[in-house]
Symmetry: C2
Subunit: 412 residues, 2 copies
């Protein structure tokens, strides 16, 4: 029988009622003829409770013990989900990471999945089992210890299982009903996309459309796992969600798939830096050592041996960035006149694989913003994305104007 | 280094403060030069929460899934205890049942430990680890699934580890500070025993002195594991608890070690049963089929081919016993005149290995009760125990009178 992977996040299994609701959806797919692998998160709140206990016990905790404690949340949900399915007369059993086994690296709390031998679960499917409920987010290290995968780990588990079992699809049940052309809270005309290409989803995921974790999308793209995002809180009918798939599966599409925004971005400018070879390396090594995640970088034209260097980073890392650069200044590693931070900015991006073959998207974007009187502070581009930093007060206006201009409320 | 096993029950690890307190006691034994194996229960209340979820999800649950869910409670405590010890600079790590491995039968929720290969933990001790924290109550079946050991499982885990590692002693930390000559709530003169023989502890455990589970005492006796019962809530000094050991280790002892009581016992009498060969088998097969745990059995002298049969069982099983016997009566398997149940009784027992070599204990017991005007309803004896059923209203009086008569407030 074809295999389907279904993943339910913490809010979808928050209590016994929701577990039953999720189990019913699994039942529908079993009736559709699938052997189903269900990946579950911990009941929402449980992981935080466990993480809290670990932090209170040991602020600089041993990540191996952290993993052993925290992984227990998923184990509870897996057992309860298997029992719920059994009550519905569906042959099911639970699997913990080490039982499958999900083989990972030894990088505790941030382990990578190395292999998922499918034999154990497949032999149970062959014996008539219809659903394997697997505790997400966890695995076993080469040393035989329990590992966890870190942020977004359950999505990653689901995609990895879909790849290992050659699943027809990997359905991610969450609390939104799909991927939108823009955030509906910001742009009322935002439209749910039926399909989106991996590359587009990847740009949107990393741009703050918090539907899927970047890591799971990357994995899905590498192994060509068709991902579907859909809501566990909507009725069955019409709830097709959004399919994230290879661009070849998308027949017609708009040039631009969506407009993303992020208000969690600050702009820093080093004024009048002594311009010499290796200066960029000096700056960004200092920032990297201070664990500052730099996003956009722009170097202005150099004048008389000095230049301005502008970059953006998450708002809550501005203090760290300033400290690192001031320290480098004091140690004479770096010479600049002034460091100016602007935390009142927002990043707006238009994303679409159609940009590869269509020119003029950037020009149109800049024109739209200019007509609205919005000044662009920084620009970066990739093959399928154009991002700009603007004053945060214009964020909603910019998203709406671009959504209109690229006619994202209409299908191609 | 010599190995010591220390077991902490649910109330001893109920929260992070108590875990720290328990860890300090472990630290003392590490400083004393022991390699320590710590067996932990789930934080009190956690197992009940998990059991409740399973019961609500699936009233006739799959015991394999029950075990997978319920065992997670001990895993959390094990990780937190290891972290707490690490914070005290004691090299420690946690082990779940499958990691050790604790190999058990496949009898889920009531598994028996078959083997505990010590190599994994010993090799870590050899590398300098000082404490192995093991999640109690659980193991791995031959099929690679998680099993639990059922009631008293953590005590049993502790004793089994002590046997497997040739531990010098197995310390059971609980909420009482030892084994007493009688229940101090019933008899104010009750005295804590410094030592008690396995056989005596076994009789007391099964008689309702809820300090240790029968099963763990049996195991300790078989493998000659010296067990110490002590309180986790008392100061370190003078808290020696009670040592449960081979009788050869007890130099001098009173003939009677203690007086036990149980109010959870009912007396049932079948009046005028047709007395023929096999009638006892018929009665007790019917009761056994109905899962009635029969304790004492007395058959009165037969008159004219008819006899009275009296037995005792836990109070909450009286209904089941009556139903089973009435059914046998109706089916003409069993013929009796009347079934009389008396739920207002209590069982009083005197226990002591000295009874083997000293006569007159029974006579003295009956005389003491007679002087107090207490009527004896049923008597049973074993080599080291005499039990009687009496009216429950005399229970306290009987315990106190016997405690005085056998001078249990004085050491031998």
């Amino acid at each position: 029988m074809p295999v389907l992977v279904m993943k339910f996040g913490g809010t979808s299994v928050a209590n016994l009622d929701r577990i039953r609701r999720a189990a019913k959806r699994v039942g529908v797919e079993v009736a559709n003829g699938y052997d189903v692998i269900v990946i579950v998160s911990a009941m929402s709140g449980k992981t935080n409770e466990l993480v809290g206990w670990v932090g209170e016990t040991s602020p600089m905790f041993d990540a191996r013990e952290y993993d052993a404690v925290v992984a227990s949340g998923e184990n509870v949900t897996a057992g309860l989900m298997a029992l719920t399915l059994q009550e519905m007369d569906i042959p099911a059993r639970s699997w913990q990471g080490w039982q499958v086994p999900v083989l990972t690296t030894s990088a505790h709390s941030a382990a990578r999945i190395e292999d998922i031998p499918p034999e154990n679960i497949m032999s149970k499917f062959d014996e008539g089992m219809r659903v394997a409920v697997v505790a997400g987010f966890q695995g076993r290290s080469p040393e035989g210890r329990i590992t966890t995968l870190g942020r977004g780990g359950s999505d990653t588990t689901a995609v990895a299982f879909a790849a290992a079992f050659g699943a027809e699809r990997c359905d991610i049940y969450t609390d939104v009903d799909g991927v939108y052309t823009a955030d509906p809270r910001v742009c009322s005309k935002a439209r749910k996309l039926d399909r989106i290409a991996f590359e587009e989803m990847l740009e949107l995921a990393s741009l703050g459309a918090k539907v899927l974790q970047t890591r799971s999308v990357e994995l899905a793209m590498r192994y060509k796992v068709r991902l579907r995002v859909l809501s566990s809180f909507e009725g069955q009918s019409g709830n097709a969600g959004t399919l994230v798939c290879d661009e070849e599966e998308i027949m017609e599409s708009n040039i631009v798939a969506g407009v993303a925004h992020s208000r969690d971005e600050a702009k820093l400018t080093l004024l009048s830096v002594a311009d010499r070879p290796g200066i960029a390396a000096t700056i960004f090594t200092a920032l990297s050592d201070a664990n500052v995640n730099v996003d956009m970088i722009v170097q202005n034209i150099s004048e008389e041996g000095r230049t301005d260097m502008t970059f953006s980073c998450p708002t809550d890392q501005v203090g760290r960035a300033e400290k690192a650069l001031d320290a480098a200044h004091e140690q004479d590693v770096l010479n600049f006149q002034e460091l100016v931070a602007d935390t009142e900015v927002a990043k707006i991006s238009v994303v679409g694989i159609g940009m590869r073959s269509h020119t003029g998207v950037a020009a149109k974007m800049f024109r739209v913003l200019s007509v609205e009187g919005i000044n662009i502070k920084v620009i970066t581009t990739s093959e399928i994305k154009i991002s700009v930093l603007i004053d945060r007060k214009y964020m909603e206006l910019a998203v709406q104007a671009l959504h209109d201009a690229f006619e994202l409320d209409k299908t191609a």
